[in-house]
């Protein structure tokens, strides 16, 4: 199990793939047509469930199972595609939408059929202006063809699809916050329960899926669930887009089978750290995943193995950090990101991220003692599990893991910064004294 296995991205080298005729020429929309005309909703649902496809947005929950939670009934149901890819390190959805927008639209149609939804929304982050424009164009093409709108593919099913642009808020990637944002509110996460499958958008049952998850569905319908389940290992079926970034020689997206060794991804596909550098640590699943170190390089890249190692696979966005990077500025950058992106709704996340940033700043400025490190570690545990959504945990877990793995470096940094600050004080003090005596040069 090495190297890439291009299934999702099989046709990505095709020029003008984003145009309807090219996509259709390569067999596009066949699955959606099949699902709309030849299959019942239960069949679509069964196939998705049997494939073992797990949500690619981070939580890794079975997509078919999630769709099966949508209750029966006459109320309006909704499908939301979560294209608010904002996790530092993640850029796979951008590529999927940009290269092959019709694949996503087809996935939306299949997802909507499975969820019996008659309205679908693609919530795309506002920063992806180019991608949103391409999606808009593709949606228009699909409407013109009758693949969207009333009676799709000439069936009895209706489906309205709207591309909804966010305006810049990481938290809108959290599914309930996404719903609030889509309803025209501040994108604050909601309390759960009720879960979106029961009470989501406009209080109706709502299926929310990541771009990559939905993009996988056409192939499942086309080739059957067994074909999909045969790839990967155990419960981590199918191929997975892995985004590798940071201190590597060849950053980019790679489609791999789950179960491939981590070393193969970092060193094989991405070329490893730059010449003369060594790996310090890596985030296996975006910046909210606790960091892992060299000792974890030989683990297989699966949901289970990453969890066992104390981290998570998440969005499968690997950020590689080499040994030239000091840990404190990295932690500060990370904490600063989460402080900025915290919605401010719940106390532990709002105050905890803020406090953590303050403490890291003090550490960096030589204003801290090793006791502060203890407090910081405890603040992280106080955040974890006490928040309304996972954003607080997303900061607390990696910061906690950094303290765990690099406590020595933190302590050295504290001491070095203190020493530097003291030297500066002494210098300023003596300069001041000299100035007072009127003998000094420039102050």
């Amino acid at each position: 199990m090495t190297g890439q296995l291009k299934k999702l991205t099989a046709n990505y080298d095709e020029p003008d793939l984003h145009r309807m005729e090219v996509y259709e020429r390569l067999g596009g929309y066949g699955s959606a047509r099949k699902a709309a005309l030849d299959m019942t909703q239960e069949e679509v649902l069964d196939q998705l469930e049997a494939s073992g496809l797990r949500g690619r947005g981070g939580a890794g929950f079975s997509m078919g199972k999630k769709a099966s939670f949508i209750p029966e009934g006459t109320m309006e149901k909704y499908l939301c595609c979560n294209a608010d890819e904002s996790e530092p390190g993640a850029f796979k959805d951008r590529v999927l939408m940009q290269r092959n927008p019709h694949q996503l639209i087809e996935g939306c149609i299949i997802g909507a059929i499975a969820a019996q939804a008659t309205r679908a929304f693609i919530f795309i982050r506002g920063e992806y202006e180019t991608q949103a424009k391409m999606l808009d164009a593709a949606v228009t093409e699909a409407y013109e063809k009758g693949y969207l709108g009333s009676g799709i593919f000439g069936s009895q099913t209706d489906l309205e699809l709207v591309v909804h642009r966010g305006q810049g808020a990481y938290i809108c990637g959290e599914e309930s916050a996404l719903l609030d944002a889509l309803e025209g509110k501040r994108g604050n996460p909601r309390l759960k329960p009720p879960f979106p499958a029961n009470q989501g958008l406009y209080q109706g049952p709502t299926l929310i899926n990541n771009v990559e998850t939905l993009c996988n569905t056409p192939a499942i319908i086309e080739h059957g669930p067994e074909w999909f389940a045969a790839m990967g290992v155990d419960k981590s079926t199918g191929t997975k887009m892995v985004s590798v970034s940071g201190n590597v020689q060849r950053a980019g997206n790679f489609e791999v089978e789950l179960g491939i060794p981590v070393r193969e991804i970092i060193y094989g596909l991405a070329g490893g750290p730059p010449e003369g550098r060594d790996l310090k640590c890596f985030f296996p699943g975006g910046s909210s995943a606790p960091v892992l170190t060299k000792e974890h390089l030989d683990l297989p890249f699966t949901y289970e193995a990453m969890a066992e190692a104390g981290s998570m696979l998440g969005t499968a966005s690997m950020i590689v950090v080499d040994d030239s990077q000091p840990i404190v500025p990295l932690a500060l950058n990370l904490a600063g990101f989460y402080r900025h992106e915290s919605c401010g709704k719940c106390v532990p996340c709002r105050e905890g991220t803020n406090w953590t940033v303050h403490m890291l700043e003090r550490i960096d400025q030589g204003d801290a003692t090793p006791m502060d490190l203890e407090i910081m570690a405890e603040v992280q545990t106080n955040i974890i599990g006490n928040c309304l959504c996972v954003l607080g945990d997303s900061m607390a877990m990696p910061i906690g893991s950094m303290i765990k793995h690099f406590r020595g470096e933190f302590e050295q940094h504290i001491e070095a910064a203190r020493a530097a600050r003291d030297r500066e004080h002494i210098r300023a003090f003596s300069a001041g004294e000299l100035a007072a005596a009127g003998e000094a040069g420039p102050a």
Partner: protein, 850 residues
């Protein structure tokens, strides 16, 4: 939708077995087991829980993570632990997080001593802080409105105030701005938060972030006593709690939750109106006219003068009662008039008397709804009343029903209603054409009583609008009809009420216990006064008066013509509230004697009164009031009488005695008992039974003593055609009147006259928003500022009534009236409409403390 049935379940909390209604949130259910779970953001009155403060985390068996007990409904067999180490450490952590940016300025903070954050930090906090970074420091306090100051350092972002603004008042003016730790509570573009209910956020704030500019630093909880009473400033009769210092001064008023009346909210008039009690200008001693001057006089002299004048006038006396006249005062006024002076001419309504038979029909228990029925109604029909101005708390109630219980709202009004955005159907008719609109609605609902063709055009409605409203109503189960007293005004009033009853009949209200009508009257205790016999044709208990008297409008004529010679004004100034101001001016001028009970001497009284007795404020009064839904509630004395003020019941009794018919009463409760004994359907009622929350007389057995009254049958009269031209309508302002003028905090809200016009009419008249216009009718004219209203029916103009200057009563005469509108020269276009122009004295001009 009927009231839900509640099932009891049992669960275990901290090792004890507890029973609670199913579906109750854990925080509330825990209380039945004497377990207190701390929380900040939870407040069921504000809608769905938000789970933002995370203070209420508990451990529930079978759930891996701690759960917020404010959002977890209790289920049968649940096992909950609120004292485990996990829960404790989470609670300590949250308190520590909350306090890292909360200043510890409790000694200075107004909330100190009654602060949930203080209490919870003591009870559930870790007792230490490890936050050594500098806290946020900002300028404080900052004004949020003339009534509310905000201290953003202290704010813990619990969502309560913004949820109130968004989900209860629905004014959506107070919001969270920015994000994350930068989040703060604010308004758009530095505008003040001004709305009729803004003061409620003061009660909601669990820390000292929002403080009342009127109460700021006036007292500590241990300096004061609380006194439960009733607000008598509008017909909503909200239950209030007054904060009293030194037994003599009201410092604050806040809501005393009564789900059957106010649901725990209070409007700003009720909250800050108490300031008028201590106004320097309040009358504190009797005054007697001495030539052209009114002079302060000893009580005995004033009583002697008044009694002599009344004895002289005898049956030539008339009386008007208004405002917050209690049932007891109304009863004694009736005694004074009918027994002592032999005059039947007493009235409490400005727009004309209610037909006695209709009064009895409307009082029927099966036809009347209780306020809480609004919560569970399928459809709420609002007929020609602007609730937010006339009975604000009912406006909140209707909004709640629509938002929380998906009740449909149908508005049938002349002026665009503030409830229109919540309404499933909104029908606009021409001002004064309620009769035609109701007849048309009755016809659409299939009532056989409605006749006449083109009813909707007689009502001036869009074709089809009434049909759409009827569509909503036809499908409904329980319907609550809120109707404004004004539909029964004027010459066609009786026919309009008949049409209303036809609608009620077509909706089958009589047969549905949770359906009914609620009248929204003009005067606070209109219902009580009517039932106590202050009406020209009604004796106490809604029985026919032995001798029918004149209604208010005729009294004015008779006084002007010299047929009557004396007038008693009990809390009433006819120039402010009655139509045909000109005619009343003549009447007051001609009357030989005018005896008034008032707390503030208005211009009219200063010019015309012979004797003025100081009226009690509601904080000094003892008595009962009757809510429009029939609930009798007690007004209780909270402070000693200020100055030389005497209980009014005793003054009325004394006057009656001096005029020859001394009533046998020696105390306020004795008057109450006498009233209850006289009014058949209040038979056997006691003050104890009324208690703190009141009692609806319709719910008591004695209600069967109500004189029998059958629903009218037979066809309705055909309503008249509409007059041509710009038809005038009026809308009262909540902020009109002496209370607001004399409460320093509220003064900025005193209304300024404005003419609301449809854009088409404005275009035709060549006026724009903010222009000054002159509105004229019947030789009278007044000035107003134009405000454009998209939803206004063309051909209508609405003016505010009750303003200090340019009162619309100058133009009204009780019938649909048309007016001429002309632009006045020299007005500047584009100067925004001074809807709530802040008056000169801001909060800085308040009187010194105590």
């Amino acid at each position: 939708m009927a009231r839900p049935q509640i099932k009891e379940i049992s669960f275990e909390i901290d090792g004890r077995e507890v029973r609670a209604p199913e579906g109750t949130m854990l925080v509330d259910a825990a209380k039945s087991g004497d377990v207190e779970i701390p929380y900040f953001c939870y407040e069921p009155k504000l809608g769905q829980p938000v789970g933002a403060c995370r203070m209420c985390l508990v451990e529930i068996e079978g759930m891996p993570k701690l759960q917020t007990s404010c959002s977890t409904p209790v289920k049968d067999g649940m096992v909950i632990n609120t004292t485990s180490d996990r829960v404790k450490s989470a609670q300590n952590a949250i308190v520590e997080f909350l306090l890292i940016n909360h200043p510890l300025d409790c000694p200075v903070c107004d909330k100190g001593g009654e602060c949930p954050l203080q209490d919870i930090s003591y009870g559930w906090g870790g007792g230490k802080s490890r936050f050594i970074e500098p806290k946020r420091h900002f300028r404080k306090p900052l004004e949020l409105s003339p009534l509310v100051a905000i201290d953003r350092e202290r704010c813990i972002l619990c969502y309560r105030c913004v949820r109130f603004s968004q989900e209860v008042a629905e004014d959506y003016q107070l919001v969270f701005l920015e994000r994350g730790d930068h989040t703060y509570v604010g308004t758009h573009d530095g505008r003040p938060y001004v709305g009729p209910f803004s003061g409620n956020i003061l009660d909601l704030c669990p820390v000292g972030a929002l403080t009342s500019t009127a109460y700021r630093f006036r007292a500590r909880p241990w300096d004061v006593e609380e006194a439960g009473s009733l607000c008598t400033l509008c017909p909503s009769q909200c239950n209030v709690q007054l904060t009293i210092r030194d037994d003599s001064k009201v410092l604050r008023a806040f809501a005393r939750d009564n789900p059957e009346v106010d649901d725990g909210w209070l409007c700003d008039k009720g909250r800050f109106g108490y300031q008028a009690i201590h106004s320097e200008e309040r009358l504190r001693a009797p005054m007697v006219r001495d030539g052209s001057m009114l002079r302060e006089a000893p009580w005995d002299h004033a009583l002697e003068q008044a009694a002599a004048a009344l004895t002289r006038a005898g049956a030539g006396t008339a009386a008007l009662a208004g405002g917050a006249t209690t049932n007891e005062e109304a009863f004694l006024l009736g005694h004074l008039m009918r027994e002592a002076l032999g005059s039947p001419h007493l009235d409490a309504r400005a727009g004309g008397a209610l037909d006695p038979q209709q009064a009895r029909v409307l009082a029927r228990p099966d036809l009347s709804a209780r306020v809480s029925d609004i919560d569970h109604a399928d459809v709420i029909l609002v007929v020609d009343t602007e609730l937010v101005e006339e009975a604000p708390i009912l406006d909140l109630r209707v909004r709640k029903a629509a938002r929380r219980n998906n009740a449909k709202v149908v508005t049938l009004t002349g002026r665009p209603s503030s409830l229109d955005p919540n309404a499933t159907a909104a029908v606009r008719f021409a001002p004064g054409a309620a009769e035609a609109a109701l007849s048309a609605l009755a016809a659409e609902l299939g009532s056989g009583r409605a006749t006449g063709s083109r009813l909707h055009s007689r009502a001036g409605c869009e074709p089809g609008a009434i049909g759409a409203a009827a569509e909503v109503l036809r499908a409904a189960g329980d319907v609550v009809v809120l109707w404004g007293e004004r539909i029964s005004d004027g010459a066609r009033g009786a026919s309009a009420v008949d049409a209303l009853l036809a609608v009620a009949g077509a909706l089958g209200i009589v047969d549905r216990p949770e359906s009914g009508l609620i009248e929204v009257p003009a005067a606070t205790n209109a219902r009580g006064m009517r039932e106590a016999g202050v009406a020209p044709g009604l004796a106490p208990g809604l029985t026919d008066a032995p001798e029918a008297g004149m209604p208010a409008a005729e009294i004015a004529g008779a006084l002007g013509a010299g047929e009557l010679s004396a007038l008693i004004l009990l809390h009433e100034d006819p120039l402010a509230t009655h139509p045909e101001r000109r005619r009343w001016q003549t009447a007051l001028d001609t009357a030989a004697t005018v005896i008034a009970f008032t707390d503030f001497v208005t211009t009219a009284l200063r010019d015309y009164a012979t004797v003025i007795f100081p009226a009690e404020s509601y904080a000094e009064k003892e008595g009962t009031l009757t809510h429009p839904d029939g609930r009798l509630q007690r007004v209780r004395q909270a402070i000693g009488h200020q100055g030389q003020v005497r209980p009014e019941w005793s003054v009325l009794a004394e006057l009656a005695g001096r005029c020859g018919a001394r009533p046998d009463v020696r105390s306020a409760p004795q008057v109450t008992q006498k009233l209850f004994a006289t009014v058949g359907f209040l038979d056997g009622l006691t003050l104890d039974e009324i208690g703190g929350k009141g009692v609806r007389w319709q719910d008591r057995d004695a209600a069967s003593n109500l004189p029998r009254a059958e629903l009218p049958e037979g066809t309705l009269e055909v309503p008249p055609e509409l007059p041509e031209g710009m038809r005038l309508g009026t809308v009262p302002s909540l902020w009109a009147g002496t209370t607001v003028e004399h409460a320093p905090s509220l003064r900025f809200l005193a209304p300024v006259q404005r003419a609301e016009l449809a854009p088409a009419d404005a275009h035709r008249l060549g006026v724009g928003s903010g222009d000054e216009v002159e509105v004229a009718a019947g030789g009278q004219r007044l000035r107003a500022t134009v405000a454009l209203r998209q939803a206004m029916q063309p051909g209508s103009v609405f003016l505010v009534s009750g303003t200090a200057d340019n009162n619309a009563t100058a133009l009204t005469n009780g019938v649909p009236r048309t007016v001429e509108i002309t632009k006045t020269a020299g007005a500047v276009n584009g100067a925004g409409p001074p809807a709530a122009a802040p008056a000169a004295p801001g909060p800085g001009a308040q009187p010194p403390p105590v």
